[in-house]
């Protein structure tokens, strides 16, 4: 059975329907790519799987690890092993990245964590991402550059080791070196726990270092095409236009 099954999912925000009957499956240990032009509904799908209260499911269901989670709160989904790397993570003043992460880790694992062990893990993960140790003691995302925020998201991915990681435009706004570092982080996550990946992107640089099992193309709130890794090359060649009747933005 697939790890994540999305059945005929319809979603609206402020009475406007954004997804119209989307279905998709992601198996354990697989890497999937969700591509599509801006405004197609890629991020909506990510947010809805994570359970954002802003988005209202009007039809269909989401099943994760055998359980219907369509109506679960985000924290319960996180505890089941779903992780979303945000495109624009919020800044929360007064809470250090380190305190936050330790708290989240204890929540997700349900176990108290010795400070010493936690620090050791954190240090190792930060090294993978070439993050300066001082970031751990800075307030969560406050004053971080775009690239630093993305790294902080991947750092959380490495620490929390979810069963499914949804990466929402994690590569956007990064320079070549940063993309390489983030890719190394994603590879380290795969190695450490063999988790599944659903990568939301509209460019393919970040995929170079990964073996992609399946690609899904979304446009106007519908899946318009699915296929193997070869589909990515096709998009690179021809854009989305021939699939959607519109230019990729």
């Amino acid at each position: 059975m697939a790890l994540l099954t999305i059945n005929n999912l319809s979603v609206e925000i402020e009475e406007k329907e954004l997804l119209h009957g989307v279905s998709m499956e992601v198996g354990s240990g697989e890497t999937h790519v969700l591509m599509g032009p801006n405004g197609a509904g890629k991020s909506t799908l990510g947010y809805t799987v994570m359970g954002s209260p802003e988005y209202r499911v009007t039809g269909g269901s989401i099943v994760f690890d055998g359980a219907d989670i369509t109506n679960e709160t985000p924290d319960k989904r996180a505890k089941r092993g779903i992780f979303l790397s945000f495109q624009n993570p919020v800044e929360i003043p007064g809470i250090t990245l380190s305190d936050f992460l330790r708290n989240a880790l204890e929540q997700v694992t349900g176990q108290r964590l010795k400070l010493w062990d936690f620090k050791k893990q954190l240090k190792a993960a930060m090294e993978v991402l070439q993050m300066d140790a001082s970031y751990a003691e800075r307030d969560l995302n406050v004053g971080f550059s775009g690239g630093e925020k993305k790294k902080a998201e991947i750092l959380q991915l490495l620490m929390l080791k979810p069963k499914l990681a949804i990466l929402d435009e994690t590569d956007s706004g990064l320079d070549v070196d940063a993309v390489r570092t983030v890719s190394a982080g994603i590879a380290a996550y795969r190695e450490s726990c063999g988790g599944s990946l659903l990568i939301i992107t509209h460019n393919t640089k970040i995929l170079d270092a990964l073996h992609v099992d399946r690609a899904h193309i979304i446009a106007d709130g519908k899946i318009v095409k699915e296929g193997g890794a070869e589909l990515i090359a096709e998009i690179n060649e021809n854009g989305f236009e021939h699939l959607t009747g519109k230019d990729a933005v």
Partner: protein, 469 residues
């Protein structure tokens, strides 16, 4: 203070325990010249102090309540007991303090904190100090830390006290300053000689145990030139059916180039009327730093004032107010720029929840002579539900052109995006909101010594999760 700081131990009952008093120890309630004379006699006041008390009473009788601020209808002055005879003389050894009083302070963690992290401690129980002590090396540097009554009777300090007592906050200031002048009892006297810099803080803890009583302690601190002190004040009381009254007074004299930090975590029971007056006079190049957390009380009026009286003097006020169910907390700060090149900064946060009302109130005045002065005010308010209330009432009175004055205020709610973000990392909604509120209060907690910051965060968590009423 370990027994206070562990998260698992958080419980309002930590502050709510109490011991019964003997009726015989109370002076009768209400405020009359007879009662004032009785207090004065009881305390063996010098003549000038007895006269001062009676004159203050006169002022009290003819002064009206302020026309602004939260209602104080629930406070019936005729029923407030202004003085409770001490059961014990002041001691310098905890072993000499009567067992139940000692146990009170043990449970509040005071003796342990003294051993671990304080230069000196004073503990007041109802109307009188029961304990006062400073470390030997601190005493040897010439620092005086004692109760005000002893100092007033000591020929070395009698004159200093007469010269400074209620000169910054005269009884004519407002009704409750007058009341304080009439019935004050207990409190601390601190004197730091020129050039002496204390590395670790002094702390006074005020505990109002008796039912239907008032606490009127007076804190007088004098810092000579280039000295440095951190003074911490803690307050608590158990909850009784009858309303209590706290009308303390704090007068701080900060000499040339001296620096004083005055930190308060106030956690009176939620039927207390906290009508407190605090004021600092800062001379040339001196600095006052206020750190203030207001969590308790039914009604609070609290606006520490800094008078910047010498060139280059500065003031900083960092505060947080958390108003929950049944609380109306009116807090803020006042700054008077009365000399050239003075500077001030006010940074406050307030939180309203479960029908609580919090009001930020401030006054920044810049006099004609305060050329080249700067002031900035920043206040932020958080509304946690729609049955609460949060008001922001700042005022600026500027009388010179050569100055830079800035003010900003914001009000709003917890962002849904932030809650979702934290929940997506596994926190339930309540914990996510509690964490955001703790972060919101970060400006104050980072200014507090660690154990107090932990205590403050626990108070916030307690308010947010409602695990204990």
């Amino acid at each position: 203070m370990k027994q206070k700081t562990q998260v698992a131990d958080i419980d309002r009952s930590l502050y709510d325990f109490r011991y019964d008093e003997d009726a015989a120890d109370f002076l009768s309630s209400g405020i009359t010249p007879e009662i004032i004379r009785e207090i004065s006699e009881e305390k063996n006041d010098p003549d000038w102090m007895r006269e001062f008390r009676l004159k203050s009473l006169e002022i009290f009788s003819r002064t009206n309540m302020p026309i602004w601020g939260p209602p104080v209808d629930g406070l019936d002055m005729r029923n407030i007991v202004t003085y409770i005879r001490p059961k014990s003389r002041m001691n310098t050894d905890w072993n000499d303090v009567p067992e139940h009083i000692k146990e009170t302070f043990e449970r509040l963690g005071i003796p342990q904190a003294e051993r671990e992290s304080l230069a000196g401690v004073g503990a007041q129980y109802d109307s009188e100090l029961v304990y006062h002590n400073v470390r030997k090396e601190v005493a040897e540097s010439g620092v005086v830390y004692t109760d005000l009554e002893s100092a007033m009777h000591d020929p070395k300090y009698a004159e200093i006290i007469r010269k400074h007592f209620m000169k910054l906050v005269p009884p004519t200031d407002h009704k409750f300053a007058a009341l304080h002048g009439a019935v004050w009892s207990g409190g601390s006297f601190v004197y730091v000689p020129a050039g002496v810099k204390l590395e670790i803080p002094l702390q006074s803890y005020f505990r109002l145990n008796a039912k239907g009583a008032g606490q009127f302690e007076h804190t007088l601190i004098i810092l000579e030139e280039n000295s440095d002190l951190h003074f911490i004040e803690g307050c608590s009381a158990p909850k009784y059916y009858e309303a209590g009254l706290h009308a303390g007074c704090v007068e701080l004299y900060v000499g040339k180039g001296a620096k004083l930090r005055y930190s308060t975590i106030e956690n009176w029971s939620k039927n207390m009327y906290n009508l407190n007056t605090k004021r600092a006079l800062v001379e040339e190049g001196g600095r006052i730093e206020w750190v203030s957390g207001s969590f308790g009380s039914h009604v609070s009026y609290l606006y520490p004032m800094s008078i910047l009286n010498g060139r280059g003097a500065s003031a900083e006020f960092t505060g947080i107010t958390f108003a929950g169910e049944g609380q109306n907390l009116d807090t803020g700060a006042k700054i008077v720029h009365n000399a050239p090149e003075t500077s001030s900064h006010i940074d406050t946060k307030s939180i309203s929840k479960s029908g609580g009302i919090s009001t930020f109130r401030s006054a920044v005045t810049v006099h004609e002579n305060a050329v080249g002065s700067r002031s900035s005010v920043s206040c932020e308010s958080l509304m946690l539900d729609q049955i609460s209330r949060s008001d922001t009432i700042p005022a600026m009175d500027i009388r010179t052109d050569k100055c830079d004055i800035g003010h900003e205020a914001k009000i709003g709610r917890i962002s849904d995006d932030a809650v979702f973000y934290l929940m997506s990392r596994g926190m339930d909604e309540q914990s996510a909101r509690a964490m955001i509120v703790s972060g919101f209060a970060g400006n104050v907690s980072k200014e507090l010594p660690l154990e107090y910051a932990v205590e403050m965060n626990n108070l916030i968590r307690m308010e947010m999760t409602g695990s204990v009423g």
